[in-house]
C-alpha cells in the first residue's frame, strides 16, 4: 500500500515551492512508523532530516517555533505532525486552519499531517482552508487497503494463479479479430496466451508478468503503430527487454504499416493475408514451441 503512494510522496517532496500540505489517514501504528522511517531514509540520502515535535511538545507551540521571522526566506524542510487521536484533534485542526496563511508565509517544504481513521473527512469539514490547498492526501487505513486490494486481485487473478504465460499478445482493439484467431490457434497448441489490447493501458504489473512470459508478440497495423497507449507499452517493454527480455520479441504485421523505431531492427512475420498467415504460422509455432521445450 505504501508503495502505491510512495512515488506521489517523492514527487511532492521534489516538486513545487512554498509550503505543501500532505494529509495522511492511517490507523495502524506499524504502517505509520514504516512511512516515517521510509521518509527519514529518503531524506537522509538527500542530507536532510524529518522535523517533528519532541515527545510531549504541544504541536502548535512546535509549529510556532518552526516559523521563521517574517521577511526571512524560509528553508525547504519536511515536517511530520501527528494529529492527536482524541480530544484535541478538532482544536488543533481549527487552529491550523486559521493559521494557514501564516504557515504558508513562514514555512516552506512539505508538512505531513498524520491522523487516524476519518481524518481526511474531518480535515475537509473542520479545516476547509487547509483542505482547499492540499497537495497530497492519501488513506493508508486497512479499509482502504482492502478496497484497493479487491479489484486488483480480481483483475490479475489469471496471472496470479497460473504464474506463467508462453505468449504476451499485444494488439490494437481494432485488430481484435486477428488477435482472437491467433490466440485460439495458439491455445489449441497448448500455449498459454496473455492478451493485452490498448483498451487497458500499460501498468507495472505487465512488466512483472513479462518476466514470467516466454515471448512478446505485437500485432502491427496502422492503428497499433499510431496508438499512443501501445506506443508507450512498446517503449517500456523495449527498455525492459534490453535487460531481461532479449530476443523474445516477435512482431507480426497484420496490416501494412511503418515499423515502430523500437523494433525496427527486428525481423517480423507477415500475417497480412490469409495465405501469408498459413505460410508463416508454422514458423511462429516453431519458435514458440522450441522455447517452451
Amino acid at each position: 500500500m505504501l508503495d502505491d503512494v510512495w512515488n506521489d510522496i517523492v514527487a511532492t517532496l521534489e516538486l513545487g515551492s512554498g509550503l505543501r500540505f500532505a494529509f495522511v489517514e492511517v490507523e495502524s501504528s506499524d504502517v505509520r512508523t514504516k512511512l516515517r522511517q521510509r521518509l527519514q531514509r529518503y531524506l537522509k540520502k538527500q542530507c536532510k532530516s524529518l522535523r517533528s515535535p519532541s515527545a510531549g511538545q504541544d504541536p502548535l507551540d512546535w509549529l510556532s517555533h518552526e516559523q521563521t521571522a517574517p521577511g526571512g526566506d524560509p528553508p525547504e524542510e519536511t515536517r511530520w505532525l501527528v494529529v492527536p487521536r482524541r480530544g484535541n484533534e478538532r482544536f488543533l485542526l481549527h487552529r491550523l486552519n486559521e493559521g494557514r496563511d501564516n504557515l504558508r508565509r513562514h514555512l516552506s517544504g512539505v508538512l505531513f499531517l498524520v491522523g487516524s481513521r476519518g481524518i481526511l473527512q474531518r480535515l475537509a469539514n473542520d479545516a476547509p482552508d487547509l483542505w482547499s490547498v492540499r497537495e497530497l492526501a492519501f488513506d493508508l487505513t486497512e479499509a482502504r487497503q482492502e478496497s484497493m486490494a479487491k479489484p486488483a486481485k480480481k483483475k490479475f487473478d489469471g496471472a496470479e494463479t497460473k504464474n506463467e504465460y508462453d505468449v504476451f499478445l499485444s494488439y490494437s482493439r481494432y485488430d481484435a479479430t486477428d488477435a482472437r484467431n491467433l490466440k485460439e490457434r495458439l491455445e489449441k497448441e497448448g500455449l498459454r496466451v496473455f492478451e493485452a489490447s490498448d483498451l487497458f493501458g500499460f501498468e507495472i504489473y505487465k512488466l512483472e508478468l513479462l518476466a514470467r512470459t516466454g515471448y512478446f508478440i505485437c500485432l502491427l497495423s496502422p492503428s497499433y503503430t499510431y496508438s499512443k497507449s501501445l506506443a508507450q507499452d512498446l517503449h517500456w517493454i523495449h527498455l525492459y527487454k534490453r535487460a531481461v527480455f532479449p530476443n523474445r520479441f516477435i512482431p507480426i504485421m497484420v496490416r501494412t504499416t511503418t515499423m515502430p523505431s523500437e523494433i525496427r531492427h527486428l525481423a517480423w512475420l507477415d500475417f497480412r493475408t490469409e495465405k501469408q498467415v498459413e505460410a508463416n504460422y508454422p514458423r511462429l509455432l516453431q519458435i514458440l514451441k522450441s522455447a517452451a521445450a
Partner: protein, 448 residues
C-alpha cells in the same frame, strides 16, 4: 519513438519542475503571463464578464455620492485574480484605486463587526496611502483624526504605539500594527469591538471624515472622478466548529443591517462577500448598487445529460496553456478534457489535477513519456475519492436535489452550516449562461 538519453531525462525533469512552479496556486494579475482572459473567450464560459459588471456600475454612476457593490464567488474560483484586473482596468480609465487585502487587516476566523471592520479598513487605506507617497502633514492629520477618536474611547492604544509610524500629538502611532493587532490579537479586537459597539454612528462619522480626507489626497489630479476602494478576502471569513454559526450570523448582520455603514460617501466601494450570504438572506443584495457573483467555468450545459461545453473546455485548455506545455503531459488531447470535466470548471482544482499529472510523469522511469488513458483515469479516480470525502451521508439527499433541480434551496435554516461547508469544499457549484444555476461537482456526483 526514440529512447530518451539520461541527459534528456534530466532536462525533462527540470522542465516539469518549472511547470510545477508555473502551476502554483496564487492570484495572478492581468499582466502576468499566466493570466487567461475568460471574459474574452468565445461562448462566455462564465456568463457575463464580472469585472465589466462591477466597473460599469462605477463608470455609469453620475452622482457624487459614489456606489457600494458586493462581489462574491466560490473558493478558488479566481476572485482575487479578477479584482486585480478590475483594479488595472479602472486605473487605466483614470480612477484612483486602493485595493486592501482583507486577510492582512481582519481575522478571517472570528466574528466581524462593523466597528472593527471600519477601523481595520481605515488602517488599510492609511497604509496604502503611506506606501504610495511621503507622510505629508495632511496625511498625518488624517491619521491623527482617527487616533484621536480611538484615544477618546476605552481602547488601549499603547500596544500599537510602537514602530516606525506617524507622529500624533507627540506619540508614535503605527497603522500597520493597529491592523495587525486587530487581525491577530483576539483580546485587542474584542476591546475595540466593546469600546465602539455603542458608538457606531460616531465611529462611522469619523471613518467617513477620514475617507473624505483620504479622497482629497489621492484625487488631486482629477477630483471629478471618485476614487475606488476594493476590500478583498472578506468572503473568506468563516468559522470552524461552534463559532461557525455565530460568524455567519455576524456576516449577515454586517452586510444587511449595517449596509449603511459600508457606504462611503464620495467613494466607489466594492466589498467581497461570502457566497452563503445570499443563502442566508436573499434581501441582502437589495441594499447595494450591484451584487456580482463569479461563477465557475461552465464545463457542461444545464441539461439532463450535462453535455460538455466545447467552448468552455477549450477556454480552460487555453488557460492551462498559459502556464506551460501542458500537451506534453498526456498522450492525447481528450485526456485533458477528462481532467477538465473532473474539475467541474473549478480552476484551483483543475490546476491541482494538472500538477498531479506533472508529478506522475516526473516519477516515471522515462519522464518524457506522456500519461496514457489508464493513468489519467486512475488519477481522476484518486482525486474523486479524496474530494468526495467532504460529503457526509446526511448531505446526500440535499446534494441529490441540487443535482436534479439545479437550484440551491435550503430545506431549513439548520442546514445552512452544512450547506456553506459544501459550498466551501466545492461540492456545490454555480454556473451561468443567461441565468445562474447550480449543480453538484463531479466528485460529489460520484457520491450520490
Amino acid at each position: 519513438m526514440t529512447v530518451a538519453k539520461p541527459a534528456n531525462l534530466k532536462k525533462r525533469q527540470q522542465v516539469l519542475k518549472e511547470l510545477t512552479k508555473a502551476l502554483k496556486d496564487e492570484p495572478v494579475g492581468p499582466d502576468d503571463e499566466r493570466y487567461y482572459p475568460f471574459h474574452e473567450a468565445p461562448g462566455e464560459p462564465r456568463g457575463i464578464d464580472p469585472v465589466h459588471a462591477l466597473s460599469a456600475a462605477i463608470e455609469l454612476d453620475a452622482s457624487d455620492k459614489g456606489s457600494c457593490q458586493l462581489f462574491s464567488g466560490f473558493r478558488g474560483s479566481g476572485k482575487s485574480t479578477e479584482l486585480l484586473r478590475l483594479k488595472a482596468e479602472l486605473t487605466e480609465s483614470g480612477y484612483e484605486v486602493i485595493l486592501v487585502e482583507g486577510a492582512r487587516i481582519v481575522n478571517l476566523h472570528q466574528v466581524l463587526e462593523p466597528a472593527d471592520l471600519l477601523v481595520s479598513v481605515a488602517a488599510g487605506v492609511g497604509m496604502a496611502l503611506q506606501a504610495n507617497g511621503n507622510d505629508s502633514p495632511a496625511k498625518q492629520g488624517l491619521v491623527g483624526r482617527l487616533v484621536s477618536f480611538l484615544q477618546n474611547t476605552n481602547v488601549n492604544l499603547n500596544q500599537v504605539s510602537m514602530g516606525a509610524s506617524v507622529d500624533v500629538a507627540g506619540a508614535k502611532f503605527d497603522l500597520g500594527k493597529l491592523a495587525f493587532e486587530i487581525a491577530t490579537n483576539p483580546t485587542f479586537k474584542s476591546q475595540v469591538q466593546n469600546a465602539l459597539r455603542n458608538r457606531l454612528r460616531e465611529l462611522v462619522d469619523q471613518f467617513q471624515s477620514f475617507m473624505a480626507q483620504a479622497r482629497q489626497l489621492i484625487t488631486k489630479k482629477d477630483p471629478s472622478r471618485l476614487p475606488v476602494l476594493i476590500v478583498d478576502d472578506l468572503e473568506k471569513i468563516r468559522g470552524t466548529g461552534p463559532e461557525q454559526d455565530l460568524i455567519q450570523k455576524g456576516m449577515e448582520e454586517l452586510f444587511w443591517q449595517f449596509a449603511w455603514a459600508l457606504r462611503i460617501p464620495g467613494w466607489h466601494v466594492i466589498w467581497t462577500a461570502p457566497p452563503y450570504l445570499q443563502l442566508l438572506n436573499s434581501n441582502v443584495t437589495n441594499e447595494y448598487n450591484a451584487s456580482v457573483v463569479l461563477p465557475m467555468v461552465r464545463v457542461w450545459e444545464n441539461d439532463k445529460d450535462r453535455t460538455p461545453d466545447p467552448q468552455s473546455i477549450a477556454a480552460l485548455k487555453a488557460c492551462l496553456h498559459q502556464r506551460g506545455d501542458i500537451d506534453s503531459l498526456v498522450f492525447k488531447d481528450e485526456l485533458l478534457d477528462r481532467l477538465i470535466l473532473a474539475s467541474s470548471g473549478h480552476l484551483r482544482d483543475l490546476i491541482v489535477l494538472v500538477r498531479d499529472v506533472v508529478k506522475k510523469q516526473y516519477m516515471q522511469k522515462d519522464p518524457t513519456v506522456p500519461l496514457n488513458e489508464n493513468q489519467i483515469d486512475r488519477l481522476v479516480g484518486e482525486y474523486v475519492n479524496t474530494a468526495k470525502r467532504a460529503v457526509y451521508d446526511d448531505d446526500v439527499e440535499w446534494l441529490r436535489s441540487i443535482a436534479e433541480k439545479r437550484e440551491l434551496i435550503l430545506p431549513n435554516q439548520d442546514m445552512l452550516p452544512r450547506a456553506s461547508k459544501l459550498i466551501d469544499t466545492a461540492m456545490v457549484m454555480t454556473y451561468r449562461n443567461g441565468s445562474t444555476w447550480f449543480d453538484v461537482s463531479y466528485p460529489a456526483r460520484q457520491r450520490l
